[in-house]
């Protein structure tokens, strides 16, 4: 069976998987921060390249590729809508008609701005794909339990049960096809919902007999930082630091209107290079190949 478009975590012997959920999440968040702060095409392309490289090195290249495929139509949609909505810009490409007093002229600048926004959407999705493929949700949720135990457990249950319920719904769909007169979608959906409630009751019973309502909670285990943790965290710090420093220094300036101006000098080149190098940090060193999933 083909995998879904959204990556799913599988334990793998890679440095990113071996690093703690907190460290790997930090790196993904730092990469996402770049996308939030910059719309410079070189910087965004560097984020995409950094995630693709890290994904390949972590053995999740196919998952990242699937997420990238999912991002393409979204990026194209944004690219095409922007010039229809914004008519600013000095370089007129197409003179459109007027609807309800609004002129639909298409300018080069609006098209380029749409392209940059689309690229930004695509780049934004990449660190989340890396996160979904490389961070153990159970470990992340365990660390969140200190904040809110019930919410974290509910999230863990949802992570576990959504695919189970999806399988239940598929099965019910197959059963409906086996009936001489298949029932309507609404009836099947209602029955699937009732089935989900039944399953929820079973899960609640399972939690009860495992002592859920005892009210006591374990203190969180304190793990010593491994080399993988240190390298992933260092990469996160470098990426986030470079992002903030670059922004303060005015790197990556893009002016879309009235004429498109994209700064392309040493600061942008340095930032892009730094991103690529930082994304490789978790994989540096001999011990990287020995990574195993954490307790």
């Amino acid at each position: 069976m083909r995998g879904g478009l959204v990556p799913v975590y599988r334990s793998r012997p890679s440095p990113l998987h071996a690093a703690g959920a907190g460290a790997t999440t930090s790196l993904c968040v730092a990469l996402a921060l770049i996308c939030a702060l910059y719309e410079h095409p070189l910087v965004l392309a560097a984020v995409i390249a950094a995630v693709a490289g890290a994904g390949l090195a972590a053995g999740v290249g196919s998952e990242i590729a699937r997420a990238a495929r999912l991002s393409v139509p979204l990026a194209l949609l944004v690219t095409l809508i922007n010039p229809l909505v914004y008519a600013e810009g000095q370089t007129l490409l197409v003179r459109g008609g007027s609807v309800l007093g609004h002129r639909f002229d298409i300018t080069l600048e609006a098209l380029a701005a749409g392209g940059l926004a689309g690229l930004r959407v695509a780049a934004f999705m990449m660190p989340f794909a890396l996160f979904a493929a490389c961070v153990d949700p159970d470990e992340l949720l365990r660390s969140m339990r200190r904040v809110s135990y019930r919410s974290a457990l509910t999230a863990a249950l949802a992570t576990r049960l959504v695919p189970v319920l999806a399988r239940d719904a598929t099965r019910m769909g197959d059963a409906a096809r086996c009936r001489p007169q298949p029932p309507g979608r609404l009836e099947v959906a209602r029955a699937a919902l009732a089935g989900a409630l039944d399953r929820a009751v079973d899960v609640a019973a399972a939690l009860e007999v495992r002592g859920y309502s005892a009210g006591r909670r374990s203190a969180r285990a304190r793990h010593a930082w491994s080399r993988h943790d240190l390298r992933a965290a260092a990469a996160a710090v470098v990426v986030a630091g470079a992002a903030l420093a670059g922004k303060l220094a005015g790197a990556g300036t893009v002016i879309e209107y009235p004429r498109l101006e994209i700064a392309l000098g040493p600061p942008e080149m340095a930032l892009a290079t730094l991103l690529l190098v930082a994304a490789g940090l978790p994989f540096a060193g001999r011990s990287a190949r020995l990574g195993v999933a954490r307790a």
Binding site: D138, R190, G195, V209, R210, G211
Partner: protein, 534 residues
């Protein structure tokens, strides 16, 4: 008797909104370190008793309880499931609903975390239970990637991680194939012997569990009907409740032999002791006792019901589910389709029905094909049974007068009968396909299903049943198709395929060494009586 881990005195329980009590005056003492098998038909009260022992009854399900029931010295009426979790672990039927975390390691840690154990103790507990139950290699796996057997082992490990004195299991093998089911029972026996954990196991397949048990408690109508060691239980069941007896015990009882054996090994020894030497004739060449000719050979070239020609099903990025299957089924045939998990049985049925398109090959259908998939509840989408099928179908399902009942309130057997009528509705069928219809089913319900299959075949349909249950296959089938991975590896009369089998065989055939092709207790008893007369 060692200190009891369970002590019940006149314990009675009625579910909220139920008219009759589910448990009536239960008196029971279970010794620490014992292995107890709970026997009883569907709806007898086995599951309710287990739910009472873990505190879900009455604290989770509500209702009214009376009398005393203590588990590990804690009264279940004053202590809830969370407190009782310290002394008893519980495993339910469906592993999908009791494994709650995404990763195996987190799953095993959960019970200890709920008890507030320090992080070091949690890590040690997880490591130890994983090694003890042979699931250490699964620790870093995601739970959604585990097979049913692996998932059930993880559920047992999660129940045992806190080292409870008592382990409760409610039909834990009903969703597993026979190999995984047998492995699970022997794992429980090892835990019971090595750790001294008392085990209470509710199961329908007595022949699978009886050899592991020290004691059997039979529940009928919510009350304890028999509480005895396995041999005495068999003697009781032969007199009072033959549906609970193992096939080999039934064969001995019908042949007038005694004492009734609890294991196949004992049966062989008894037969040797009675001068009935193990048969030496090759089983494959034999015919079933009491049958002169095989019905499937009586109809060569009968009307076509279903045919597969060079059928291939190759799953993208997956294994070959079917690899060049050639099969022809004729009207009136009763076919058991057997094989291990992943052999392609369900895939073949889905392709026959048209739920999946083959990647190569051709399916020819002699008319309408009805398919009942593994979970009959999936077919029932309305609020009333009458809306699922008409009054006539309800009568055929034995549900006359239950038309206003919500299908979700029906028992497992009733739901299955109703679902079968749902797929049969809409005119005559050339072929009726059933996928694992006997999961979690007791013997009387299997007998009912067998009779229904007989009626369908007599009406001209080819009935093809994918099953792991060799005893059931021997009861209804006149032809047995054994599948290997994606291919047909044997196709013939059940006596020929099963009597000489090792894994794919019945207990009666094992006890008799395949003699005379006898598979069922009735056939075995006739053979033994002939031998005794001779």
């Amino acid at each position: 008797m060692p200190e009891p881990v369970v002590s019940a005195r006149g314990f009675t329980y009625r579910y909220a909104e139920a008219r009759e009590p589910a448990l009536r005056g239960v008196d029971l003492d279970l010794a620490a370190g014992s292995f107890t098998l709970l026997a009883g038909g569907s709806g007898s009260g086995k599951s309710t008793l287990l739910r009472a022992l873990c505190g879900l009854v009455p604290h989770f399900h509500g209702g009214e309880a009376a009398g005393d029931l203590e588990v590990g010295g804690l009264s279940v009426r004053t202590h809830g499931p969370a407190q009782l979790a310290a002394v008893c672990g519980t495993v339910f039927q469906d592993p999908e609903s009791q494994v709650v975390m995404g990763g195996v390691r987190s799953e095993l840690a959960l019970a200890l975390e709920h008890r507030g154990e320090p992080a070091g103790a949690v890590a040690r507990g997880v490591e130890e239970v994983a090694l003890a139950l042979g699931v250490a290699h699964l620790l870093d796996r995601r739970t959604d990637t585990l097979s049913g057997g692996e998932l059930q082992r993880v559920a047992i490990a999660a129940a045992l991680v806190g080292r409870p004195r008592l382990l409760l299991l409610d039909e834990p093998t009903s969703q597993l194939d026979p190999v995984a089911g047998d492995e699970l029972i022997w794992l429980l026996r090892r835990l019971n012997e090595e750790w001294g954990t008392a085990v209470v196991l509710a199961e329908h397949r007595m022949e699978r569990c009886l050899p592991a048990a020290d004691r059997v408690v039979a529940i009928e109508g919510g009350a304890v009907a028999c509480d005895a060691p396995p041999a005495e239980f068999l003697a009781w069941s032969a007199r009072e409740s033959t549906a609970l007896a193992t096939p080999v015990a039934r064969m001995f009882s019908m042949a007038g032999l005694g004492p009734l054996p609890t294991t196949v090994k004992q049966a062989r020894e008894s037969l040797r002791g009675a001068g009935l030497a193990e048969p030496s004739e090759p089983a494959a060449a034999s015919e079933p006792a009491g049958r002169s000719r095989l019905p499937w050979r009586r109809r060569p070239g009968g009307p076509l019901a279903l045919e597969a020609r060079d059928l291939w099903l190759e799953i993208e990025e997956g294994p070959r589910a079917l690899a060049g299957v050639d099969l022809r089924f004729e009207a009136g045939e009763r076919v058991a389709l057997m094989g291990r998990n992943g052999a392609g049985k369900s895939s073949l049925l889905r392709v026959f029905k048209g739920l999946q398109e083959p990647t190569r090959g051709r399916v020819q259908r002699g008319g309408r094909v009805a398919l009942l998939l593994q979970t009959p509840g999936d077919y029932l989408v309305h609020d009333h049974a009458r809306e699922e099928a008409g009054d006539e179908a309800l009568r055929a399902a034995g549900l006359a007068g239950r038309g206003d009942a919500n299908p979700r309130d029906l028992s497992g057997g009733e739901r299955q009968r109703l679902a079968l009528e749902v797929v049969l509705g809409g005119g005559p069928c050339a072929a009726v396909l059933l996928d694992e219809p006997t999961r979690g089913m007791d013997r009387p319900h299997k007998d009912e299903l067998s009779a229904r299959i007989g009626r369908l075949a007599a009406g001209g349909a080819a009935v093809i049943v994918a099953t792991h249950d060799t005893e059931f296959a021997a009861t209804f089938a006149d032809r047995l198709v054994l599948m290997g991975p994606g291919t047909v590896i044997a196709d013939g009369p059940p006596a020929q395929v099963l009597a000489g089998g090792w894994h794919f065989s019945t207990d009666v055939a094992r006890a008799l060494g395949g003699a005379g092709g006898a598979l069922t207790p009735e056939q075995g008893a006739r053979l033994l009586q002939r031998e005794l007369v001779a």
